[in-house]
Symmetry: C2
Subunit: 770 residues, 2 copies
């Protein structure tokens, strides 16, 4: 329930909720509980059909020929040998009918083509093959003879801006204008500071690496295209295909169903999907195109690498006086937001009157960046949250205290500095520190001997996570009291289906196992925006609640007529409709004659608008304990605690799961992950597999992972009082580890990944090697 510590004082908790919103839940019996995923059986047993599992009669398998050079021009393609290979049904090149598809970029318009002769990175698409088996398709890909003119490459953001650097696009290597933000006067701020620190930080390029690689199956029914796609949003894929293939929306059906993660790499249409669709058209047969792990490393997205110079000023009492950040990043060979949102935590995480940022994005010959879980925020937090510790040390203040002193209640970076609908950051820091045993752990730090031990804290916010319209959900209540939930949203594995069914169950009292869920299909389910940016729950759950309430209202009206009472005096409880005025007047759902007669009730729910004049942001604070082996450079995270303010915790278990995923991803950023390009010889990525590119495994995460949901019911935000969780759960994780490493061994680690090789160098340089 609202706690006035976490709302700004001029927006008291009793502020009325936005108009047209149902009354807050006074208590809940399903929502908030710790419940396993409704589709757990299907996912664990193998019954769940992912896109890669879709098998259609007469289906062909496709493979893509990709440019093997970091930078090259295709001079000639000879498919004659490949055409004669066994099982080959079609070969698609830039010359094939219908394949001359201009490839759009949201910000700049067409920048290349589906198969562009100018290949700007290793892995760029050159041709596609459809054959009877995947092996035949791959054999044929290898038999296509391509004459490449290999071009000089640039594999580093700084190199890209040097005079004489090879130009990846006409107009040079700058990707868009430099992004600038300023408030107040940083020079005055630094002048007023007692301590000023400046440091360069960098984060390496991370690969999304979802469990399920990208896959599409395309089938044409006459002029209509049906695509099964591993996607975070069927409607954006539909509109992407509509735009690229010049079809009406009604002619493109996209089915999402089960999927195994996306992390931002499956938000928009990819070239492989279009290739599958065109091959299916050419052959008049269904075509499946399932990318290999290697292709997934090269060509479907990444978190861009950023180099961040951060300068900060602070007074001795802990008041921040100025923050200044310059960023150089690269989204690869195409505009992919190499620096997007990197400065948001600097702008808005802490109260600071003077802030200035400048972000430069450049092209290099590498795969294109895509939205990656909390775009920009983990990078920015890597810099800011280490800086906060550096400042705290300089002024002799506890890092938690220092952060608490600067918790904001308004969004300073938003015009008019509007209040947050709720700010749980204070609670995250306080309750996290208490549960983690922060003060005691700090005292217990072991700073001598080969195995050092230390603890670190970091905070974060996500400049999103409020969700918003449009969203439509339909709930059907069958006459036997079971129900059907119809929504267009994808369930990336996070538990969306479970949470939405819980909302329906809460309102209608239908047990979860009696709710059949249909989702992620543009033809048969309702409109939903893509699942990304921590907005699925805050966007969809109010629509689910509205749909269930619509059903309930109709049901009570039917029952009222039967019981000869008014609908207002009726409540639905345990599958029965009971009069509050006379409890003898009641009827079970299955006994409502009008419902039996009609067969079912259809309820439609929409997501209402967000409150005006407020900013909705989730917050979080992470606490890490590490052991550093100063003889090997190995870092072991022994304990981790994440306190998250994402409004109401809709399901304790999935909340915990998603936070653990965020922590794990943060550990990867901090300690192991990073794309390595061969900068000197070939420009190619050298660690394109699980062996060379390390993501944390179950062996690498701490056994003790504590998740604290602050569970602040934010009815200022929406009718289910939840904010998003996916992104904020990963933002502060990496710098919390970095700060713990410093606490353990006194070495600052400005660059990710802090792997043994790098850490040994730092320890040696600072003479702290054990």
């Amino acid at each position: 329930m609202p706690d006035d510590r976490y709302y700004v004082t001029d927006v008291p908790p009793e502020t009325p909720e936005p108009a047209d919103q149902p009354a807050p839940w006074t208590t809940t019996t399903v929502v908030g509980k710790r419940l396993p995923r409704v589709d757990g059986y299907e996912r664990v047993s193998g019954a769940a059909v992912y896109t890669a599992d879709v098998v259609l009669p007469d289906m062909l398998y496709a493979a893509v020929l990709r440019c093997p050079h970091a930078h090259a021009m295709v001079r000639k393609i000879d498919t004659s040998k490949a055409e004669k290979m066994p099982g080959v049904a079609a070969i698609l090149t830039d010359k094939s009918p219908g394949a001359d598809v201009p490839w759009f970029n949201a910000r700049t318009g067409p920048l290349s083509r589906l198969f562009d002769p100018h290949c700007r990175y290793e892995g760029e698409e050159v041709a596609g093959v459809a054959a009877e088996t995947p092996y035949q398709a791959w054999d044929a890909v290898r038999a296509i003879a391509v004459e490449y003119e290999v071009l000089p490459f640039v594999a580093d953001a700084e190199d890209a801006l040097k005079p004489g650097a090879v130009a990846i696009h006409q107009g040079g290597n700058r990707s868009g204008d430099v992004t600038r933000y300023a408030r107040g006067d940083v020079d005055a701020g630094f002048a007023a500071a007692d301590v000023v620190v400046e440091q360069i930080y960098s984060t390496a390029c991370e690969i999304h690496a979802p469990t399920e690689t990208h896959a599409s199956v395309a089938r044409w029914d006459g002029n209509r295209l049906v695509v099964w796609d591993s996607t975070q949003g069927v409607y954006p894929i539909q509109s992407g295909l509509v735009q690229l293939l010049k079809l009406p929306s009604s002619s493109v059906r996209v089915i999402g169903h089960y999927m195994g993660g996306g992390f931002g790499s499956k938000l928009s249409v990819s070239k492989h999907t279009v290739i599958a669709a065109l091959l299916a058209k050419m052959t008049a047969r269904p075509v499946k195109l399932h990318l290999t792990r290697e292709e997934s490393f090269l060509a479907v997205g990444n978190r861009p690498p950023d180099t961040m110079t951060l300068k900060a000023g602070v007074k001795k009492d802990g008041t921040l006086t100025a923050l200044q950040m310059t960023v150089l990043g690269t989204g690869g060979a195409y505009p992919g937001g190499g620096v997007g949102s990197v400065d948001w935590v600097v702008r808005d995480l802490y109260t600071c009157p003077n802030v200035k940022t400048e972000l430069t994005d450049v092209f290099i010959n590498a795969g294109q960046a895509r939205a990656f879980r909390a775009p920009g925020h983990p990078q920015g937090a890597w810099a800011l949250e280490q800086m906060m510790d550096q400042l705290a040390e300089r002024i002799g203040m506890d890092p938690v205290e220092f952060r608490l002193k600067n918790v904001p209640m308004v969004s300073q970076a938003t015009s008019g500095t509007p209040p947050y609908s709720s700010t749980g950051l204070k609670a995250c820091l306080e309750e996290g520190a208490k549960r983690f045993g922060w003060s005691e752990a700090r005292k217990r730090a072991r700073t001598e001997g080969p195995i050092r031990r230390g603890v670190g804290v970091a905070a974060g916010l996500w400049r999103g996570g409020g969700g918003g319209p449009p969203a439509t959900i339909i709930v059907k209540l069958f006459a036997d009291g079971s129900a059907n939930l119809n929504m267009g949203a994808s369930d990336l594995g996070t538990g969306t289906k479970t949470v939405m069914a819980m909302v329906v169950s809460e309102e209608l009292g239908v047990p979860l196992e009696k709710i059949q869920i249909e989702w992620a299909d543009t033809a048969t389910t309702q409109y939903a925006t893509a699942s990304g940016g921590s907005k699925t729950v805050p966007t969809e759950s109010p629509a689910a609640r509205a749909a269930a309430l619509d059903v309930k209202q109709q049901l009570l009206t039917m029952a009222a007529a039967q019981l000869k009472v008014t609908p207002e005096e009726l409540v639905l409880k345990n599958g029965e409709i009971v009069s509050t005025a006379d409890s003898s007047k009641k009827v079970a759902i299955a006994g409502v004659n009008a419902l039996r007669g009609r067969g079912l009730i259809v309820g439609v729910g929409y997501r209402g608008p967000n409150p005006e004049g407020k900013v909705i942001c989730p917050f979080g604070a992470h606490f890490a304990e590490v052991e550093v082996n100063t003889r090997t450079g190995e870092v072991k995270v022994t304990r981790f605690l994440a306190a998250q303010d994402s409004g109401r915790a809709m399901n304790e278990l999935t909340y915990e799961n998603q936070t653990q995923g965020g922590i794990t991803m943060g550990l990867g950023l901090a300690l192991t992950e990073g794309r390595i390009l061969d900068r000197s010889q070939t420009g190619k990525m050298v660690n394109r597999n699980w062996h060379d590119y390390k993501i944390p495994t179950a062996m690498d995460v701490p056994v003790e992972q504590i998740v604290i949901p602050i569970d602040l019911h934010d009815y200022q935000a929406n009718s289910t009082a939840a904010k998003g969780l996916g992104e904020p759960a990963t933002v502060p994780a990496a710098p919390a580890v970095a700060n713990a490493i410093y606490n353990a061994c006194g070495v600052r680690t400005p660059d990710t990944p802090v792997n043994p090789l790098r850490l040994m160098g730092l320890l040696a340089a600072s003479k702290k090697r054990g």
Copy 2:
């Protein structure tokens, strides 16, 4: 437009339409046009996926062991050899876990079991097998050793009532009580008549024989069952499975999609569907069970054979004074409505004050009857419409004139004799006779020589075809002006999808090719009753119209806000919303910002109730010209005209197609079709294939088939002014042919089929052989 000749005088056409109904269409631009089916390409190209085409990963194929005797008791089943056959995954018998399913009959409750040891007809289910291939399943079926005790059989309805007849059920061979109906005083009526005629007629048992035989594919997702079924109604199949398998509605999803005819045999759940579901559960794999044509002849339904004694009295002026009918029929071994509705045409087709009927239904050892296109009506019409000609001849009146004299405007058999919402029978007879050239053709009859030529007329009604609630349809309008139509109704091949899309197109101006249709899926589409009884169009099209109007209203409201006008002054025309007050104020659908913002509009439509105090019936009159070869007994139908009153003709082409199908089926009833049971030796059906059981082919139907839609817009019935067409299109066809045969050669043909063997006998007996 309403024509007051066809409404009763006390219900003038300007009577307001039922409440809550949208205004009648003043003109239409899509509805009523002659348009090909929207899914024609898919159906013709082979792209349409029928249940038999569904292929799922890891799917097994099932086959059913059926009793080879007309009547037997299973004493022992030995599956040990079959279990060891290659590819066999499971064998299901009455002893298998979960297979002890009581088999219900709607009227009587459980009468048998899924696998009942007492096999009451040849083809009754004894066991099921699932194997890797259909051939392996069939091999295993043949390897199951069953010890039968063969029982005496009864293969004839009259025999079934004889003393000492073998009892098929405990309690004897009467299937339910004798059905009796009476109004007025038939004895007084006969006394008042100038002419009284009595005749015994009979119709043979017809097999439904849809192009696509019955098929089901069952798959379990955990505890949830998904069934692809060739069905006329996914919701009745769902509720049937829910009842039989004791599952909540939310745990059973039924998908119908493409299907190739049902004619009443696919309205309710069949044993093979349950067998597929149980085998899928046993094996944890999907199972397909696709019945063979032979099984389809034996075990999934038929039109019951009826013997009808009809006595009629008439005055010389053509006034009917009395009708009396007794019927003996048999629905086979289980209650299947052996006589249901046989007397309806006698009760209600013509004005007659004194009517008495008595119908007796008995069990025999044969496959169970099921609803068959216009249950009972073609049988009754076979009797009544020949009798009408016999009476007309006796009083020297033209058959058309005689029928016109007795056209009713009220439903005499309904309590209170309420008016029909419209009666187009007069128009059918008048306009049909005119277009057919009835009088001239009668004069041209050739009654000498070996090849005789004659013409005949017959009329009919269908005591249904008004449709009614419940029905829900959802229409989505995408921001690019294309749309999605979501309805639960099946499209049996008749054009339901086409007609519903036309209604949406009419209201929203979206071209048909930009309407994507989802249908017949309990999980993803809206509630619809089964498609049968000529009620799909009158039930669903008003819901489709309401949904489209809901969309339109929302669109106009959005556009009004944008154009700063009132929604009331806006109209939607050619994809634009235009102000009627100021035509410069307009915006294209794609230009409505609020629609773009939301992505799409969702409209929900319900079917309102039918008008009180009225009866909704479609009518028809058929005219046939035949050539009879009196030396071979062959009858060639050379010309046929059907004039149908089914309210508004929604689509001229599908209207014509469906009527032609009705005519063809009537020709089969009249001339070729009839189940033949071996009454003396085995009781088994001897003509269980296309070779021995003749349905009319393209070679057997007249080249000249004229269909006249009377196109009476019956807004008294519903908001699209349409009545049903499927059943009335077949009711009068057979007796029109019989009457033409009589006109050609002077021989009455009381029994179907009038095949050469039978007709030569009649010609010989009456000495009219050529």
